[in-house]
Structure formats: structure tokens, C-alpha cells
């Protein structure tokens, strides 16, 4: 289950700015912690995050262990055509996550 939550406005006027919010369930394991018996827990954080709007890159983030666990991102885009936002992320283990949100633009 790719756990992520996305929030975008239900309807947006063409040309208007709109806020995009995404929360991803990911431990963002820093690699500096140790387990119960003192063994280091391997680092696994999201390194790259991309949001595409109808295929075009809208925002790209180089992430690190400096982000809190279960990262939250809020940013602003300009409404163009109706369509969808596609979010993709890649972590240290090579796992890819993805989430989508429909964008409904009115004239």
C-alpha cells in the first residue's frame, strides 16, 4: 500500500495559483540509529521527489535525512489545463512510490 495523502483544491480558476499538499508515509531512516541490540539500522531516506503537471516537471526536490519522517510538502503551482498531478519519489533502497491527483480547472 503506497501510503500518501494529497490535497489540492476541488476546482481552480485558470491562471490562478493553487496550493498542493502531500504527506508520504516513509520512515526516512537516517542511518544513525541503532536497534535494540546496538546494531546500526541501515539508512533509507527518500532522495528524489518530483511532481509533474500533465507530464511537465512542476517541482523537484533533492531530499535527505534532514527531512522529518513521514515527510510533508506544501507548494504552489499555477493552474493551466485540467488534468492530473503525478508525484513520484525514489528512496535509498531503490523503492519508488507514486501518487496522483486530479486537477479540475475552470475558465
Amino acid at each position: 500500500m503506497a501510503d500518501a495523502r494529497v490535497q489540492v483544491p476541488a476546482q481552480i480558476k485558470r491562471g490562478a495559483p493553487f496550493e498542493v499538499k502531500i504527506a508520504i508515509r516513509h520512515a526516512m531512516e537516517t542511518g544513525y540509529r541503532v536497534d535494540d541490540v546496538g546494531k546500526p539500522i541501515k539508512r533509507n531516506v527518500i532522495r528524489e521527489f518530483v511532481c509533474k503537471y500533465n507530464g511537465a516537471e512542476a517541482l523537484r526536490v533533492d531530499m535527505s535525512s534532514g527531512f522529518a519522517a513521514n515527510p510533508l510538502l506544501q507548494f504552489w503551482l499555477t493552474a493551466g489545463d485540467s488534468g492530473e498531478l503525478v508525484f513520484e519519489w525514489l528512496d535509498d533502497s531503490g523503492a519508488r512510490g507514486t501518487e496522483r491527483a486530479a486537477i479540475n480547472v475552470t475558465a
Binding site: 490562478a16 503537471y53 517541482l59 535525512s65 534532514g66 522529518a68 510538502l73 504552489w76
Partner: protein, 167 residues
């Protein structure tokens, strides 16, 4: 099970803290004799960039402006694992900002984040939550498309959890 007479929690805390206070007192005395600078909190200068190698590498000798970059972060963090941060660039028209970097003075990974903007960015406001490995200064740096570099420095005091949780 426990047969000793009840001891108030305040006395217990004092016992635990006494050693810590003794250590700090000793450290303070040592600092005074060697002329070391006082604690950061009493001398925070918002117009001074902390010495972060990754930041200097990025700047490559370029000059920075201390206006326009906005960085909102609590003065005292509830918990270093998750500190809210708000970034922005004052008066930036769409298309004018290329990226925003976030640097840490003390974290093991000094270059915490880079936000790369596209022409689709309506404004350059970003909200997120970061990890801070202790009390330190953070630097937010915006690279404008015309080459201007705008920075903001903030200092955050990070306290530890009360019942140090080994669970």
C-alpha cells in the same frame, strides 16, 4: 517491593541534575580561562553566515543579499525530529527563482534540501518539516534566475524529550 521511604520527585531530579550542573560549571570555568567565545544563543548575528563547507562550496565566492529570503522556523523546537519550516522569497515574480537550498550548521548531512522550481511555480512558498540534530543555525538560500543569491539565517534551540525513551 520498594521499601525505602518515599522521596519526592524534585529531589530525584536534583540528584540527577547535580552531576550535569557540575560538569557545565567545570566547562564554563575552562572556557573562561581559555578565552573561548560565549554560547551561541547570546551572540546570534542574523547577518553572519555560519561556516558551513557545503554552503561555501555552493557560493563559490559569490556575494549574498540578506533581504528578501524568508525563513520561518520556531525559536525553540518542540522536538528536533520534526521542526516546521516555511520558506519564501519576498516579492518574487513567477519565473524569477531557480532554486532554494536549505543548509544546516550541525546536522550530519549539511545540505538538507534543494527545491528546484519550474515555470509552473505560482509562488516560492514552501512548507515542510525538518530534522535538527541539536541547537544550531539554519541557512535558507534562494538562487534567482538573474544570478542573485538571497539568504536568511535563523537559530533554533532544540531540546530533548523529557523521559529519554529507549522504547
Amino acid at each position: 517491593m520498594n521499601t525505602r521511604e518515599p522521596v519526592s520527585p524534585q529531589r530525584r531530579l536534583s540528584a540527577a541534575g547535580a552531576r550535569r550542573r557540575a560538569l557545565l560549571a567545570g566547562a564554563g570555568a575552562l572556557a573562561a580561562t581559555q578565552g573561548l567565545p560565549a554560547l551561541a544563543q547570546s551572540q546570534f548575528n542574523a547577518n553572519e553566515l555560519p561556516p558551513i563547507p557545503a554552503l561555501n562550496e555552493y557560493l563559490a565566492g559569490r556575494r549574498v543579499q540578506f533581504n528578501r529570503m524568508q525563513l520561518e522556523i520556531p525559536r525553540v523546537a518542540d522536538n528536533g525530529n520534526s521542526v516546521p519550516v516555511k520558506l519564501g522569497v519576498l516579492g518574487a515574480a513567477p519565473g524569477s527563482v531557480q532554486s532554494i537550498h536549505l543548509f544546516s550548521e550541525v546536522n550530519p548531512v549539511p545540505r538538507m534540501a534543494v527545491f528546484h522550481f519550474s515555470p509552473l511555480a505560482a509562488r516560492y512558498d514552501i512548507e515542510s518539516r525538518v530534522r535538527l540534530a541539536g541547537t544550531q543555525r539554519i541557512v535558507a538560500l534562494a538562487t534567482l534566475t538573474d544570478g542573485t543569491l538571497c539568504v536568511k539565517v535563523a537559530e533554533v534551540v532544540v531540546s530533548i524529550a523529557a523521559c529519554l525513551d529507549g522504547n
